[in-house]
Symmetry: C2
Subunit: 153 residues, 2 copies
DNA sequence: CTACTTGCAAATGCTTTGCAGGAGA
DNA sequence: TCTCCTGCAAAGCATTTGCAAGTAG
């Protein structure tokens, strides 16, 4: 299976999910999804506007709402004031984030299964102690990314 | 040492931190800090306005900015659009969050040292693989809190 | 044909800021 | 008495929405 076959499958799956909630997979939505796939990291509305200048911001916002309710896109928690979005983990792979506190960029990292096993078990225990029903978790590492660590050269 | 002694120490430490950045520990700021101590969980601006109706929102926002730059308060990442704030971990204890995806409430949980040791080591490894310099981490568990799990009775 | 989509512009609502008076050291 | 703090009102700005025209099925 080639890379583009995999991408095609992804698009078909997304279309199905949209159909489930009576929504269509239009060119604007597909352009947005393509961007998310290409970037492979959470993007902000600003990123979207830069990459897709022909897509009005209001449409981008509406697409994101629709894609979220279809379970295709997820809004992630950020430390700054800008909302960021990424493909739902069901369409990609469970991962965590390296958040640069200087420039706000977010990188995805895939954890080892051993790590996940430990974390999940421990978190389930902590949650249970508070009568909390866990559904998922997210781990963010805050720090400085490569670019920001470089002295201005 | 009694509980109130400990709280007094905390207030003195906060005052010192504010002084460092040429800021004063006024009654409005103290009221805000007292609320954060009392709640012991991240609070939103709305929570603050409800608890301290005499404190104008604009002052609350300004206090939060000042307290953040003094390293007393931290703005946490949330999944919804409302900013939430809590005392900096240096003043409390390292902890993680149980975030209710239904009502938005956030609970603090303190992890075991074994858990923290494992997580820190693993995360440092992941970060290093991307040339990322980690400074801290945050773990959030998403799910349903006790109140929201209850059938409406 | 009927229902979902889109663009534009206007509205919303959280958050920030200018300014003038008040207060801490 | 110099600097920081506060309140109010006005401004900013990311996000949402009304409406009318476009388009998929």
């Amino acid at each position: 299976m080639t890379l583009s076959d995999a991408t095609d499958d992804l698009h078909r799956l997304i279309e199905t999910r949209l159909r489930r909630v009576d929504q269509r997979y239009t060119s604007g939505r597909r352009a947005l999804v393509d961007l998310l796939i290409k970037e492979g990291r959470p993007v902000s509305i600003g990123d979207i506007a830069d990459a897709l200048p022909e897509l009005p911001r209001s449409s981008a916002y509406r697409h994101l709402v629709d894609l979220q309710s279809a379970g295709v896109v997820r809004r992630i928690a950020t430390s700054d004031e800008f909302a960021r979005f990424e493909l739902d983990e069901h369409l990609t792979e469970h991962h965590h984030h390296l958040i640069c506190t200087t420039c706000g960029q977010v990188l995805d990292v895939t954890p080892s299964t051993a790590f996940e096993r430990t974390v999940s078990r421990q978190l389930a225990g902590m949650a249970a102690a508070h009568g909390f029903e866990p559904t998922s978790h997210q781990v963010d590492v805050l720090g400085t990314c490569t670019s920001c660590a470089q002295p201005a050269s």
